[in-house]
Symmetry: C4
Amino acid sequence: MNKARIEAFSDGVFAIIITIMVLEIKVPHGAAWSDLCQQYPIFLSYILSFMYVGIYWGNHHHLLHTVKRVTSTIMWANMHLLFWLSLVPFVTGWMGENHFAPHTVATYAIVMILCGTAFSILQIAIKKANPDEGRLGLALAKLRTKAYLSVVGYLIAIALAFVNTVFSGIILLLVAVMWFLPSKAVEEALLEEQND
Amino acid sequence: MNKARIEAFSDGVFAIIITIMVLEIKVPHGAAWSDLCQQYPIFLSYILSFMYVGIYWGNHHHLLHTVKRVTSTIMWANMHLLFWLSLVPFVTGWMGENHFAPHTVATYAIVMILCGTAFSILQIAIKKANPDEGRLGLALAKLRTKAYLSVVGYLIAIALAFVNTVFSGIILLLVAVMWFLPSKAVEEALLEEQND
Amino acid sequence: MNKARIEAFSDGVFAIIITIMVLEIKVPHGAAWSDLCQQYPIFLSYILSFMYVGIYWGNHHHLLHTVKRVTSTIMWANMHLLFWLSLVPFVTGWMGENHFAPHTVATYAIVMILCGTAFSILQIAIKKANPDEGRLGLALAKLRTKAYLSVVGYLIAIALAFVNTVFSGIILLLVAVMWFLPSKAVEEALLEEQND
Amino acid sequence: MNKARIEAFSDGVFAIIITIMVLEIKVPHGAAWSDLCQQYPIFLSYILSFMYVGIYWGNHHHLLHTVKRVTSTIMWANMHLLFWLSLVPFVTGWMGENHFAPHTVATYAIVMILCGTAFSILQIAIKKANPDEGRLGLALAKLRTKAYLSVVGYLIAIALAFVNTVFSGIILLLVAVMWFLPSKAVEEALLEEQND
């Protein structure tokens, strides 16, 4: 019961975050394709963030699937994650409007590190309240490895932002792609759970 | 369980897309009806897009009704569809503010093709994961015919945009009206399923 | 099943309509209370619309409670209602920013008539698909009487808008207050249903 | 059934309120960190409001957990609470953009008092309709003590706003922190209920 409402609220916030980002894409004043093309950095940053928020939604979805008992700590850890994710539309707009300027790209990567950290905190809070995690323990551990890799990627992206932001963008994209590959361990664990 | 959360998230995104479009209708500075009437292209484009997003919601609703097993592919195909739909408020605003200028109408139709393609991809992904579709197979196939017709309509609308955008607008409207006619096959299949 | 998703989608749209209206209240540039007070017509129109959308949500909630079988007609009638309601933030902003100028107040009342008509169409569509309505028939009929009274109120508000918009505002408020009084017939019918 | 839809609608409104606040953080025109830092009051006010709305969501969540019978009074009391909460993004933006100017801070605290009062009214309405509250009665009573303390805190914050708004901000933060501490009584009562 508790869980259903946390999911509903989080789904609402995820849906709004992913959709209001499009409000940052201001309608160009001209009516020609050339006017549209000038906004290409805004579209690129939108695509990147849409992927990231989509990935977070998918992982959040899987993570909450493993919850049986909801505690106050889980509720606040979840709110903390949503806080950092809520800043994604802002940093997306800032990065896009300024054509991937160094400081904006670095800020984007920093917010991504904070989102990732918040996700890990939620993961730990859930594990603490639901210690009998069974096969899902391994799966969660594997996700954590991916999380560490992502942080390394973000840190490299921050450093490269001051050299050439194109490299930073490519690394941010690669991190997203890595997350697109579904975690076999999580899926198998979920499947097993469904069969029980 | 999985399915319920995909529906909840998609419903949230659909609801937000359909509602934030109204934010593109800027409040006119004057207080007279003549000030309101000057915005008629913005209202026309809003009505058209409201119809389209409403149609997609209805079809999405029916399509997900046929899902029993949710896979990662379905989740990403759904996210991909929501991505293209999320651009609808932007192209609606661009088309409306520029009084249906050729490039804006063509862009609108292109986004519609991409939404339609994404819907078909989702349909294929669902069919693959749920091969035992029974009577719904025929119904889905019939929807696909409508989808092909729509793409033809959109292509004609793009071509006509460079001749006279009024014709493009009429074709876009006709495609929407075609989708308003409910698919008997889908409804009967759903009804049959309910009776089982 | 069908019904749950119509409710979820409608709830999402209602929640967004009622909340994005606050985006029309632009933050004043000054930092003093006098700057805030200058915006009083915007706040008044916001309160009025919040009441109206809240009332529609409550009535929609009750009306859908009586649905057992969802048809395509019900789905489109619901979408049609949401369309007119989605214009409420726009007319609210227009009326508020222009200090209840005659044309804006009349437009507001016209949109209210269209919302009311759309609600009646939905009511009829639901009755047609669910003819065995039992005691709820009387309750719905009584709501329809209130709806007729509202339309009369809106028409008077339109006429008075060209004399003195203060009178129009009072009538619009009275109509809202009339709807705040809960329909005993509907509640008793719902209660009876719960006891069965 | 009734309750589920009130929760869904409220969750939607909460999710939107908490997320649209980020729209008040306008993307800075410059691309350097110094441009971002100039907006620090806007970020501070955003963090504060995110905490408050998050706390209200958590408490609302617990409070509705105790509801068995939904009445019209509860529905309107809930709508009334959502009305005051919907003004939070506005006062947050006003306070942030004006660097915590006295009048803006006082207005923020006044809106907080009104939100708190609305929450208490909802609490009373729920108690009246669900008198057999059992152990939850004590838990609710304890929450009410916290509510009184908060009002005292808000009043002090209003008074101090005319002396030094830094003190007001600290008190507003302390009130939020007080609410972060979970109410043992409520949690135990909920736990007991789950075990029954």
